[in-house]
């Protein structure tokens, strides 16, 4: 059972940093998801862990072993590729047997092992077929099976579900979670750009942007306590409304002025406000789920007058883009009656659910979940970075 540790890992490509000072501890047996928009360095980080890329700087550990210079084949890892990477010239059985054969594992147990894995993944009837004769979902299972045959310390997955259709993706997602629960000894690192996948699958989720690790937290903490505007917007759908506002303190109470109304947020910020925060302009984050037609109950902001522009039915709820003064916000409206375009609605937000961010650094002003990352690069590296 092995954890994983990235220690100050950098990856430079032609002078620009694709991964900057990555420090990440993954516990043994944990399922961690690296998530971020394309180009954020998540796949590069995974490939460095796999040994397919060499870090420009820093060390990578699997368990207590420094694997930075260990060849990829000796790291005791398995990887599922986005493209599946099945050998098209071999049938499913030979695809599964490829690894054990090149590692010269005993042949006697191989058959039984392949049958066991094939049964687990329900691909036993496909063993004689070539990859070309399989559907997308079946190929996915074979790729998974090939990784499972090894019983690795670390299981790496690079967007394994992104080539499947929506229904199959949901099904495979559930199966992967079940599989992880069965193989609880294996540490999983899963890369995706899909925040829903990240939130549903990961014990913890690491959000990356432009090569920088912004926040590592459980799904719940990421949603409740985003450390920056980016994480706030990236996690959750529809994305968080980010609005200009003003924070003011008077005595014990703390209020925020946003969307033309003033709301008391004393309870929200009590004991959590970061040091040095003073009255003044801030960015206020309000999730669409926390912005709804005013009911006048306690904990709600005063009513905000808004007009419906576009409404999107998502099944259980309707999310509408609304205009209020100069701002446009997305709010949650009831399903019936269906809101019409141009209809006027009085909105209110839950004062206890607002997020406050610094206007310049875009970092959260509330204390939970702020990123702990080095502010400057090691001297030799920062010279190389353009």
């Amino acid at each position: 059972m092995s954890g994983i540790r990235f220690e100050g890992v950098w990856k430079l490509f032609e002078g620009s940093a694709v991964v900057s000072d990555l420090n990440l501890d993954v516990r043994a047996g944990e399922f961690i998801v690296l998530v971020g928009p394309s180009g954020c360095g998540k796949t590069t980080s995974l490939r460095m862990l796999a040994g397919l890329e060499r870090p420009s700087h820093g060390r990578i550990f699997i368990g207590d072993r420094d694997v930075t210079d260990v060849p990829t084949g000796e790291r005791d890892i398995s990887m599922v590729f986005q493209s599946y990477a099945l050998y098209p010239n071999m049938n499913v059985y030979r695809n599964l047997a490829f690894g054990p054969r090149v590692r010269k594992e005993p042949r006697a147990t191989l058959d039984a092992r392949i049958n066991e894995v094939a049964e687990l993944l329900q691909i036993k009837h496909l063993l004689k077929r070539t990859p070309a004769a399989l559907s997308g979902g079946q190929r996915q299972r074979v790729a998974l099976g090939r990784a499972l045959i090894r019983e690795p310390q670390v299981f790496l997955m690079d967007e394994p579900l992104s080539n499947l259709d929506a229904a199959l993706r949901v099904q495979m997602r559930a199966e992967l979670i079940r599989l992880h629960q069965r193989l609880e000894k294996t540490t999983n690192v899963y890369v995706t750009h899909d925040q829903v996948e990240a939130l549903t699958m990961g014990d913890r989720v690491a959000v990356l942007k432009d090569g920088v690790l912004l926040q590592v937290d459980s799904a719940n903490d990421l949603y409740e306590h985003p450390s920056s505007v980016f994480v706030g917007e990236f996690i959750g759908s529809p994305k968080m409304n980010i609005l200009e506002g003003t924070l003011s303190f008077s005595g014990d109470s703390c209020t925020v002025e946003v969307l033309g109304v003033r709301a008391d947020v004393s309870e929200r910020v009590a004991g959590r406000l970061r040091e040095g925060v003073v009255s003044g302009p801030v960015l206020v984050g309000i999730r669409p789920h926390d912005l709804f037609p005013a009911t006048g109950s306690t904990g709600e902001s005063p009513a905000i007058s808004a007009t419906v522009d576009i409404s999107e039915h998502t099944g259980a709820e309707v999310f509408a883009t609304m205009e209020t003064g100069p701002s446009r916000v997305v709010a949650r409206l009831p399903r019936v009656p269906t809101p019409d375009r141009g209809e006027r609605v009085d909105l209110a937000f839950r004062a206890g659910a607002v997020h406050l961010f610094d206007r310049d650094t875009q970092l959260s002003l509330l204390d939970r979940g702020t990123p702990s990352r080095r502010t400057s690069a090691p001297a030799d590296i920062s010279q190389q970075v353009r």
């Binding site: 397919l52 490829f98 090149v102």
Partner: protein
């Protein structure tokens, strides 16, 4: 006459002219072939195209003694040179396709251009070298022939290896495969159509080569079939029937290889299903 009619007439005229021209070219190509076939089964063949006095006597004549031995020499020469060129070519092509090599593009250009260097430029110095080291025999000549086809073979195979997805190699490396295992079990099977095409090119290049063996092979009992055909014509009264029969036999491997290669190209890559489309 309406413009539409005029247009149709133009098309008909143009297509008739095209067919006539192609037909004329076709005849130019087909007549020698026809002569070859007819003369080979004609007991009294001459240089003219005529209805044969049907007989297999010509084939019986040429498939004996030194003529048969020359065919065998051709097989040895071509198989050895093809094997050397294809095996070394795969390694070179793999390295050029996958490894970071300084000045790779100029190097590739150099390789491509060197495949076009006329043999006449090289043959005298090579003869000098071979004769100094006592190498004017069939196997060193096979080596030299493999070198002449190597640049084009490397270039052709490199393009096919380029098309093998890198993911497959990485997957194999993660499983613990060595570079040689990756090459043998993943890259070579998938680039096989290209490797086969390159090998066929090399084989045909050696098989039909006249000048190189003529200059580089001293012993008459080591000389390949093209020299035997050439020798037929050096006597005052050539046996046209024998020439035709021998030439026809000489063509057979080339016909077979070309039909195999065209099938290989039609089948194309077998990559389907390995990686996403």
């Amino acid at each position: 006459m309406t413009p539409a009619n005029k247009e149709t007439r133009r098309t008909v005229l143009l297509s008739t002219a095209t067919h006539l021209a192609l037909g004329a070219f076709g005849i130019v190509f087909i007549v020698p072939m026809l002569w070859l076939i007819l003369a080979s089964i004609d007991a009294h063949a001459s240089w003219g195209l005529e209805w044969p006095h049907f007989s297999f006597i010509n084939f019986r004549h040429v498939l004996t003694g030194s003529l048969l031995h020359s065919l065998w020499n051709s097989v040895v020469l071509s198989v050895v040179s093809t094997a050397i060129a294809s095996i070394t070519g795969v390694f070179a092509a793999y390295a050029l396709s996958r490894r970071r090599i300084p000045f790779k593009t100029p190097l590739l250009m150099f390789i491509l251009f060197s495949s076009g260097v006329p043999l006449a430029i090289m043959i005298i110095p090579v003869y000098e070298m071979f004769s100094r080291y006592n190498l004017l025999t069939i196997l060193p000549t096979a080596l030299f022939l493999s070198v002449t086809s190597l640049p084009f073979e490397v270039y052709l195979m490199k393009n096919f290896i380029d098309a093998v997805p890198k993911d497959l190699e990485e997957a194999a490396r993660i499983e613990g495969a060595s570079t040689f295992q990756v090459l043998r079990k993943v890259v070579v099977p998938l680039a096989m159509p290209g490797i086969a095409a390159a090998s066929i090119f090399g084989f045909v290049n050696s098989w039909g080569s006249l000048v190189v063996p003529l200059i580089l092979i001293n012993a008459t009992n080591q000389q390949p079939a093209p020299i035997a055909i050439y020798t037929f014509l050096t006597v005052p009264k050539p046996e046209y029937g024998n020439i035709a029969a021998y030439s026809l036999i000489f063509c057979v491997p080339v016909f077979i290889l070309y039909s195999v290669s065209s099938r290989l190209f039609r089948e194309g890559f077998v990559l389907g299903g390995g990686v996403k489309g």
